[in-house]
């Protein structure tokens, strides 16, 4: 049984090689459920920014670099929005230990992001996030055009530069 599954997958993959298209991006998983800070369950298909790109960032209350990333962007977020209309969707992967601290932390820190809680880590798994922070840029068509893990001060400038390029229709998949 195991063998069969493995072989089936190997086959799948080799088909994949031939069916390879010139340029394609994975799309955001559509039917994954996450919760709003008010406890409402929503599907990821509702994630959008009116046809403009948005930044999807995975974080946790216990992850220092994540907090540094979101705090750093906070200072420039207003300027970013004015210039590019970009939106940040911040998805917390906290479990029951930290989940109820998410909303007070978000408001207390003065973050104006759209925040969701992925307590069962369904979205984290669906998007192959291994470690946090893990940041994605999703274009207006819902395609994942860029992703990166880790944050240091200064990365936010690279991030907004990439968003500008996406808005101009440039391909940024090879950018670091």
């Amino acid at each position: 049984m195991k063998k069969l599954l493995v072989s089936a997958f190997a086959l799948f993959l080799s088909i994949g090689m031939f069916a390879q298209e010139t340029k394609s991006f994975p799309t955001l998983p559509e039917n994954v459920s996450v919760k709003t800070l008010d406890g409402k369950t929503v599907q990821t298909s509702t994630f959008n920014n009116d046809g403009k790109p948005y930044i999807l960032s995975f974080w946790a209350t216990w992850c220092k670099p994540c907090l540094r990333e979101l705090n750093t962007i906070k200072e420039v977020y207003e300027d970013w929005q004015e210039e590019t209309g970009v939106k940040i969707i911040a998805v917390s992967i906290d479990d029951a230990r930290g989940a109820s601290r998410v909303k007070p932390l978000v408001n207390g820190s003065g973050w104006e992001y759209e925040v969701y809680i992925d307590q069962n880590q369904d979205l984290k798994r669906a998007m192959n996030v291994v470690n946090v922070p893990h940041t994605f840029i999703i274009n207006g068509k819902g395609e994942v055009v860029w992703q990166h893990t880790s944050f240091v001060e200064g990365s936010e400038e690279e991030l907004i530069e990439l968003v500008r390029k996406v808005m101009n229709g440039e391909d940024i998949s090879e950018s670091k």
Partner: protein, 555 residues
């Protein structure tokens, strides 16, 4: 071996392919390789590793096509790196599933992860870095008949290293958003979500001897647990509560007593821009719920009870973490985040953030049953417990505060202080409570747009003199310097010094390179024996001394 080869080549193929479309669907995945070359070091108790090299490998493949998805995870532990249970030794497909979903229902066959509410009665999850994986193997169905209603039901067995636990786990859960269900309530500022779940475990009978000679315990073959929860939100206010009960479940964790279990978790919060307050309380009584009654250790838990304290990430603050006592504990926690506005006396030019956190975890009150002198005697109802009475043993106490401030365009400083009381009873050890004062300074300096320096200084002062059985005891100093060249490269050097104690140095040098989602990290140095906590779960990590190479990637 052949199987292994096929799998490996499949993995390699996919890695070369990157994210691909095939037949309209797409293949994504991730992998993680950890390799360890450890040397013996009796001074810190690092055991000899005759294999010289140890490695853990994970590779996930995920295929999605519309509502259909399927995935496999390859794992190898040849041999498991230090700190992982030796029962992980081996390689193969550890996880496989197929799933189909549309707007109304979702069905998953194979391995799945899910939880009901906070997880007090059911949570199946993995934390690969802790060696924890209690994935279910079976079927999970989710049904959304109308907007605002989710009904879930599942049946399966739990992963136990490369095998499955003996117990059969069944469950059903419903969650109802009243705002979506009741007309005129839809646009209300008050949001109400209610939920209830039931989980049952079936396990075959076995012989467990009663203390009364010649008798075997009459074991319940089915053990049930139920929970009710609510989530209220009104503007800036929030209130969440969950209460769970468990039927008679004599098991190795509770010394085979027949008392029912129960757990209560309450959280209230208020927040507005610049201020967030969260208060929590919990009470746990005999809630160790496993799919095998004789199981001890970290595997085969059906439920999840988180520790009620802040999870520290600075090394010396995390030296003595709280450990959940499933047999009974009562805890409270208060957490405040406050942003002091810019251009004020305290806020300075850029504003200041203040975080306060307090937690205290106590034992619950336990009294012997009538006619008994001891508590928790095997084969009895164990003890009686007054729900509202706090026990007199302190398990854990933590007061901590953090002030973080941007000093200039180039520099940031965070100062943290913590007072942590730790009772070794939580680790099933005897001894006096450790009272520790810990101070951490964390400074970041941005030299230019590409180069960032960060430094940490940590100091831990304990009331306990160093003793050999606990290599953490005594007083510690730690320094860390980290240089980042953009987000692509870093170099860090650190040393933890047990200056008032064993006089041991725990130095470590790490370099890392990140390109998009691929990250290579190489570390050399000593790892102190102790608890490693990620995501609220702690696991004992033995001391090691040597080289550690870690590669992660996703595509």
């Amino acid at each position: 071996m052949k199987k292994l080869l096929i799998t490996l080549s499949a993995v390699v193929l996919t890695l070369q392919l990157g994210a691909q479309t095939l037949g309209g669907g797409q293949v994504t995945g991730n992998f993680q390789i950890d390799a360890q070359f450890s040397r013996q070091d009796s001074a810190i108790g690092a055991e000899d590793v005759p294999q010289k090299m140890l490695s853990n490998v994970f590779a996930n493949l995920l295929y999605t096509n519309g509502g259909f998805s399927a995935g496999v995870r390859f794992e190898s532990y040849l041999d498991p790196i230090l700190g992982f249970n030796s029962q992980y030794k081996g390689a193969g497909i550890a996880n496989k599933f197929m799933s189909y979903q549309n707007d109304m229902f979702e069905i998953t066959a194979g391995n799945f992860y899910d939880q009901y509410g906070n997880g007090l009665i059911f949570r199946s999850y993995e934390d690969r870095n802790l060696g924890l994986d209690n994935a279910m193997m079976g079927v999970n169905v989710k049904f959304r008949p109308v907007d605002g209603v989710i009904i879930k039901s599942m049946v399966g067995k739990q992963r136990y290293y490369w095998d499955y636990g003996k117990g059969l786990v069944r469950g059903i859960d419903g969650e109802f958003s009243l705002n979506s269900l009741i007309k005129n309530f839809e646009e209300s500022k008050t949001r109400v979500t209610l939920g209830a779940g039931f989980v049952s475990k079936y396990e075959e009978d076995q012989t467990i001897l009663s203390p009364i000679e010649g008798y075997k315990l009459n074991l319940p073959l089915n053990v049930g647990a139920g929970a009710f929860r609510m989530d209220l939100a009104h503007g800036n206010w929030g209130l969440q509560a969950e209460y769970a009960i468990k039927s008679q479940d004599p098991n190795a964790l509770n010394n085979y007593i027949y008392k029912n279990g129960n757990a209560l978790f309450v959280s209230a919060s208020y927040s507005q821009k610049g201020l967030g307050i969260n208060l929590q309380a919990k009470r746990i009584d005999n809630m160790g719920f496993k799919s095998e009654r004789t199981s001890t250790g970290e595997m085969l838990y059906i439920n999840y009870i988180p520790a009620m304290s802040k999870q520290h990430t600075y090394a010396l603050m995390a030296l003595y973490p709280a450990i959940t006592q499933v047999n009974g504990e009562m805890g409270i926690q208060a957490d405040v985040t406050y942003s002091i506005k810019k251009d004020t006396w305290l806020g300075g030019k850029y504003g200041t953030t203040l975080k306060l956190n307090y937690s205290q975890i106590m034992s619950i009150d336990k009294q012997p049953l009538e006619g008994y002198t001891t508590i928790g005697e095997k084969g009895t109802d164990g003890y009686t417990s007054d729900f509202f009475k706090v026990g007199d043993e302190l398990y854990y106490q933590d007061f901590n505060m953090e002030i973080s401030k941007k000093l200039s365009k180039k520099s940031k400083l965070a100062l943290t202080y913590a007072y942590i009381a730790f009772n070794p009873v939580m680790e099933n050890e005897h001894g006096d409570i450790h009272y520790n004062n810990v101070v951490v300074a964390d400074y970041t300096y941005k030299m230019n747009s590409k180069n960032v320096l960060r430094g940490e200084l940590q100091w831990l002062k304990s009331n306990i003199e160093y003793f050999d059985e606990d290599k953490r005891s005594g007083d510690w100093l730690m320094a860390l310097v980290e240089w980042n060249f953009t987000s692509a490269f870093f170099l860090s050097v650190s040393d933890q010094y047990n200056y008032n104690g064993s006089k041991e140095h725990y130095y470590n040098v790490s370099v890392g390179y990140t390109h998009n989602t691929t990250r290579l990290q190489i570390g050399y140095g000593k790892q102190r024996r102790g608890l490693l906590c990620i995501g609220g779960v702690c696991r004992e990590v033995p001391a090691s001394n040597g080289l550690m190479v870690s590669l992660t990637s996703s595509f």
